[in-house]
């Protein structure tokens, strides 16, 4: 690892002051992604500002029936928090589908949002990568791209966002609370992560001098009809080839409200308003689900090694929606897909 300076932030305002004063500094909380990237020489901060002791570790009910999650709540604590297990089981399930228990014990809520892609070329400093070194080119487009994106790609980057938790947060329409030199602001989850376009070095709309302080969940929790289905090369402890967060509100056999978010397929958790609208008011059956899947994947584009993801995504969407409709969510320990 490179040499770097270390400092501890006293409070959120101090953290913002310190990051504003040094553009080459980075915040560190759980460190599970950042330290790994520093060992790989991908991230080279001159200074780490330790925010792990800031008082952002509570999970609290909000006045309008939602829940506010402090940015430093560890992933494991969040997945197993009674409020989340009971009221937002989709989020709990998605978190438990990701990483390992050791990593979930360390990784923070805010850090999960800000983790970087696991594209092989982003990690391999001997190869060009527009995300790591803007303008150097994308090695994945004509390289080993089995794990790459099929939706929302650009000529500059076909990397995917690696998080499971964020797929559920997208489906639940969470809000991200951030603080900066000018005070606090709230970012809708769909606006937090961005598509690569010509600037794939930017993963999110968070500004360099801002800090994530909380994630807020709205009251609507889809706690009855949901499923998080993750398809990967190993049964556990592997990133998604395709994952689906499905959430339905049913009235009899009819879909009143639907949310559908995909992981492993794009630079951000992927939602499609057209596909969700097509589910609303329709009977909760295979024909409806297949139609929504076809709509969501209408612009999907495969590369040399990942075209299989399009059909995999189609089937995963139908299966996850079926599991949600039947109130038989995918177990994250019994790996049989029913």
């Amino acid at each position: 690892m490179i040499n770097f300076q270390y400092a501890r932030a006293d409070d959120v305002a101090d953290a913002v002051r310190r990051i504003s004063a040094d553009p080459t500094a980075k915040f560190i909380a759980g460190g599970t992604n950042l330290i790994d990237l520093m060992k790989e020489d991908v991230e080279r901060p001159s200074r780490l500002i330790d925010i792990s002791r800031l008082p952002l570790k509570s999970v609290e009910e909000t006045a309008d029936g939602g829940v506010r999650i402090g940015a430093l709540v560890p992933n494991s604590d969040l997945a197993w928090h009674p409020l989340i297990e009971q009221r937002y089981p989709l989020l709990s399930s998605a978190i438990l589908a990701g990483a390992s228990q050791q990593l979930r014990n360390m990784a923070s809520t805010g850090g999960n949002l800000l983790q970087r892609t696991r594209c092989f070329y982003f990690y391999d400093t001997a190869t060009p990568c527009n995300k790591r070194k803007p303008g150097s080119g994308c090695s994945a487009i004509d390289g080993i791209n089995r794990i790459s994106a099929i939706l929302g790609t650009s000529e500059a980057c076909i990397a995917t966002h690696p998080s499971d938790m964020c797929v559920a947060l997208a489906a639940l329409e969470a809000k991200v609370h951030v603080a900066g030199p000018k005070g606090e602001r709230v970012i809708a989850f769909n606006d937090f992560h961005r598509l690569p376009g010509n600037t794939p070095q930017l993963d999110t709309s968070l500004q360099p001098n801002e800090i994530v302080i909380a994630v807020e969940l709205p009251a609507q929790n889809f706690s009855k009809n949901y499923s998080y289905l993750k398809i990967r090369d190993r049964l556990s402890y592997a990133f998604a080839l395709v994952s689906v967060a499905a959430a339905l509100e049913l009235e009899g056999g009819t879909i009143k409200q639907a949310r559908l978010a995909l992981g492993g397929v794009a630079h951000k958790p992927w939602r499609d308003a057209t596909a969700e609208t097509a589910l609303r008011g329709k009977p909760a059956n295979q024909a409806t689900f297949t139609h929504a899947a076809d709509l969501l994947l209408r612009d999907a584009k495969g590369f040399a090694h990942n075209t299989f993801k399009i059909e995999l995504a189609r089937r995963s969407i139908v299966r996850a929606l079926t599991q949600a409709a039947q109130a038989t969510p995918q177990s994250q320990s019994d790996k049989k897909i029913r």
């Binding site: 040499n3 560190i28 460190g31 790994d36 390992s100 014990n105 360390m106 402890y237 320990s333």
Partner: protein, 175 residues
């Protein structure tokens, strides 16, 4: 043509960061260390405290060989900076023996031959201590899933699961 370098060395190179004092309780013993900011907890344990039971496998959080308990929770010590754990209580494989008696998990790993080469074993056992403390694993599927962060290249998984079940019974947690 005379060779002239356009690259000038900075007259004020960045100062090499000084060492930082970190106080930790390691296996019940209060310890003060002087470490560089980039020293991982794993390297601090192995190279500064000679606690070499904790193993360096991948050094990237992918194998679990470096698993230790920090304030009772299992973590990957290779992705933990020692400076960030000032004031923490750390337990390694060396700290599991009490009054000369093996921890029930250590005994269970022996009883079930839950290893071949043994390199992953300290991490497996510390991880299983964390698993039992969490109290979430109620059946074999859940033990396997919650132990998935510990890779055993010898493939001793069936015996590792059996050992953890035995220890759970002994400690009084129904697997």
């Amino acid at each position: 043509m005379a060779r002239t370098s356009t690259a000038k060395r900075s007259r004020n190179p960045l100062p090499v960061p000084g060492k930082i004092s970190v106080a930790m309780t390691v296996n019940g013993v209060e310890t003060t260390l002087e470490v560089a900011p980039w020293t991982t907890l794993l390297d601090a344990l192995r190279d500064h405290l000679d606690l070499t039971g904790t193993k360096k496998g991948c050094d990237h959080g992918q194998c679990g060989a470096c698993t230790v308990l920090v304030d009772g929770r299992r973590v990957n010590s290779c992705l933990t900076l020692a400076v960030m754990k000032d004031g923490a209580e750390v337990t390694t494989i060396e700290g599991l023996v009490t009054e000369g008696a093996l921890h029930p998990l250590q005994q269970a790993f022996i009883d079930h031959d839950a290893f071949q080469c043994g390199y992953c074993t300290p991490g497996q056992i510390c991880s299983a201590v964390g698993l039992i403390a969490e109290g979430k694993a109620k059946n074999v599927d859940e033990i396997r899933e919650l132990m998935s962060g510990n890779i055993c290249r010898c493939g001793a998984y069936p015996n590792i699961v059996a050992a953890i079940q035995q220890a759970m019974n002994k400690i009084g947690v129904k697997p």
